[in-house]
């Protein structure tokens, strides 16, 4: 949704690409700054004592230890001071050290993020493919039985609690039937691939390791299926109405009047015409997917961003929480930017101003 506004804005200004990118960079930085501020304020509100949470019952009695901890994490300073220090470090690429694990947040995020991106990306590709087919069928047969069936299916897809579905399929396909591998990204017997991108499928492929690749792919199946269901529901309904709208345009009627085959009309005219709103919605759906991963990762013990965020949150691990917020903000900015750039590719009115 936000992307559409921006695309519209960029269309109306019709400016040259560099100027547009510069403007975009500016608003992105403002947004990211806001994200850090919001996360910081939120974490500052914490009534619980993060130090206590980190140290546990025993150590909290020892005042010297507590003081040392406070100093180490800058807890002895005032809030604005702490925030400024955080920003200063941030500019130098330092996201601080996790209180819970005592490891640099940046390093932890750089392993968690690819895990989530891998699942989410696979899910969005699967969802889009399924939803395009279902949504187009529903639109072209609007009002008929197949349309009603697609409608009910997509509404049910939107209604399933993902975490529950995750448990159910995990029990059924792993524990009962043994068709799917267990939790995690890899079977325990295997070693992770040499880290290049952090995406196991890509890294195994680059490494030329078919065993690892297949194992990693098998581990992706259940989480992706579970995650896709909701997104399929979301996208199908949207694609149906977008396609339906294009269906009643004169240019589709003109294409039919030219005697082109249905397939050509659908792919060449109909879907192309609906591509811009669909693209926008895919961006939104990707954001929703990141939300969904938190719950699904918890069930499949997937070492991704969601799991990391969860542990950071329940342990009141402030630097880690801040890091998550920042990464999430960056993802949002990147998605919007990609959607906007694709808009330019798909729409000559944007491209040529």
């Amino acid at each position: 949704m936000p992307t559409a506004t921006k695309a519209a804005r960029s269309r109306s200004t019709g400016s040259a690409l560099p100027r547009y990118l510069l403007r975009r960079l500016g608003t992105s930085i403002v947004l990211l700054f806001g994200v850090t501020l919001v996360t910081f304020v939120l974490t500052a509100l914490v009534p619980g004592d993060p130090i206590a949470a980190a140290l546990g019952e025993g150590a909290i009695q020892n005042e010297a230890t507590v003081e040392a901890y406070r100093e180490r994490y800058g807890m002895d300073r005032s809030l604005p001071e702490r925030y400024l220090l955080y920003l200063l470090a941030l500019v130098q690429g330092d996201l601080g050290t996790s209180i819970r694990t005592s490891r640099p947040v940046l390093e932890e995020l750089s392993t968690a993020l690819p895990a989530t991106v891998e699942v989410a990306f696979a899910a969005i590709v699967v969802s889009l493919a399924v939803a395009l087919v279902l949504g187009t069928i529903a639109a072209c047969r609007a009002g008929k039985v197949s349309d009603q069936v697609v409608r009910v299916v997509s509404l049910v897809g939107l209604s399933v609690p993902t975490f529950w579905l995750a448990i159910m399929v995990y029990r059924l396909f792993f524990m009962q039937l043994g068709w799917a591998p267990g939790s995690g990204r890899l079977s325990p017997a295997l070693n992770p691939p040499p880290r290049i991108t952090g995406l196991y499928l890509v890294d195994f492929a680059l490494d030329g390791d078919p065993v690892g690749f297949i194992d990693a792919a098998a581990h992706l199946v259940l989480p992706v299926v579970v995650l896709s269901l909701f997104t399929i529901g979301l996208l199908t309904r949207f694609i149906r109405s977008s396609v339906l709208e294009v269906l009643s345009t004169d240019y589709v009627r003109a294409a039919r009047a030219k005697g082109l085959s249905s397939r050509r009309v659908i792919v060449g005219y109909l879907l192309r015409g609906a591509s811009l709103p669909i693209l926008t919605m895919v961006g939104v759906a990707f954001g929703a997917l990141l939300s969904g991963t938190v719950l699904v990762e918890a069930v499949f013990a997937w070492p991704g961003l969601g799991t990391y965020a969860y542990y950071a949150a329940i342990n009141l691990d402030l630097p880690a929480v801040m890091g998550v917020g920042l990464v999430v903000g960056v993802i949002y900015v990147v998605i919007n930017l990609v959607v906007d750039l694709l808009y330019g590719v798909l729409d000559p009115r944007v491209r040529l101003g």
Binding site: M1, S12, V35, Q148, V156, P161, T162, I167, L247, P277
Partner: protein, 329 residues
């Protein structure tokens, strides 16, 4: 001539009023809406009557532990010897009303902010727009998680978190609707007749915004239930021993063999959410033009109205985009 015209127009009137009578009931006559209403109604009843129809106290631990459905109780018992059916019924009392509160609060907050931004425009819109952008940048569950963790895990904090993460959606929808309505001819016309901006907001703009916003809200009840149960599942919402569906599922994860403990609360969530989605989606059919605002420029269609050039459709429920002006912006 004018007699001719008025005769023609009377014929048109007859047609139009027949159409208008068809409009609202159509939503309720659709089987989808009916199914939704029946299921939602059943859950409402269950929630209200739970203290009387539940066979046991949801918190009482007297029964044999982990018995499968049918043995001692219809849906079996949990690890502490509590009756699963009673907990399920009482769960409805927790989640459904709180989801309602969440949606109403988020809707009011979002609508106000969106309306202000859309009506005043300029730098106010810019600032509020950035603010909505900011809250939309967080994936819902992650932000809710941080908030719930920060404020301490409890159901009320989960609701609060839910409000914080969902208001921007209403703000966005309202903003774009208000912006397009603001330049509609009828709004200009009443301003030219001396309406103050407040009055024009109250009588011209908000009544025309409410339909789409309510449809959105009805679709969001389901999402709110998913969010609340999800947070409870993670331990950031309802705390034990509260009978709440999400935490019941999370508890069930510890007892792999007692499949009934996980299956039924999940089905409960599924059916309630589905009921609300069915109702909301049918409502959308009636009050459709919403979706075009929600997607900004994406638009949507009510149905396969392939022939309209020659039909002269006199029904315009909510005004469409302002007509193209002479000068390109």
């Amino acid at each position: 001539m004018s007699a001719q015209v008025s005769r023609m127009s009377r014929a048109a009137d007859a047609r139009v009023s027949r159409r208008s009578k068809r409009r609202l009931p159509a939503a309720w006559r659709s089987p989808l809406a009916l199914v939704g209403i029946v299921i939602a109604g059943a859950w409402f009843l269950a929630a209200i009557l739970a203290p009387w129809i539940a066979p046991y106290d949801p918190l009482a631990q007297g029964l044999p532990r982990l018995t499968p459905p049918g043995e001692y109780s219809v849906l079996g018992t949990d690890v502490l010897g509590r009756d699963a059916l009673s907990r399920l019924l009482h769960g409805a009392r927790v989640t459904i009303p709180l989801a309602g509160v969440l949606v109403v609060c988020a809707m009011v907050l979002g609508t106000i902010i969106g309306a202000v931004a859309g009506y005043i425009g300029g730098w106010v819109d810019e600032v509020l727009g950035r603010l909505t952008d900011l809250f939309m940048a967080f994936p819902t569950v992650i932000l809710a998680m941080v908030i719930a963790a920060a404020l301490g895990p409890s159901l009320y904090n989960a609701v609060l978190a839910g409000i914080v993460v969902t208001w921007p959606m209403y703000a966005r929808v309202t903003r774009s609707l208000v912006m397009s309505l603001r330049s509609q001819n009828f709004v200009i016309a009443s301003r030219l007749l001396g309406y103050s901006p407040w009055r024009s907001m109250g009588t011209d703009i908000l009544p025309n915004v409410m339909g789409p916003v309510l449809v959105l809200a009805s679709l969001e009840v389901g999402t709110a239930i998913l969010l609340l149960t999800g947070l409870s599942f993670l331990g950031l919402g309802a705390q034990p021993p509260t009978a709440e569906w999400g935490s019941m599922i999370s508890g069930a994860m510890q007892n792999i063999d007692a499949w009934w403990l996980g299956v039924f609360p999940g089905l409960a969530i599924l059916t309630v959410v589905m009921a609300f989605n069915f109702i909301g989606d049918s409502l959308r059919d009636v009050l459709d033009p919403l979706s075009s605002a929600e997607r900004q420029g994406a638009g949507s269609a009510v149905g396969p109205t392939t022939v309209n050039a020659d039909e002269g459709d006199p029904s315009a429920a909510v005004p469409s985009e302002p007509t193209e002006q002479e000068a390109p912006r």
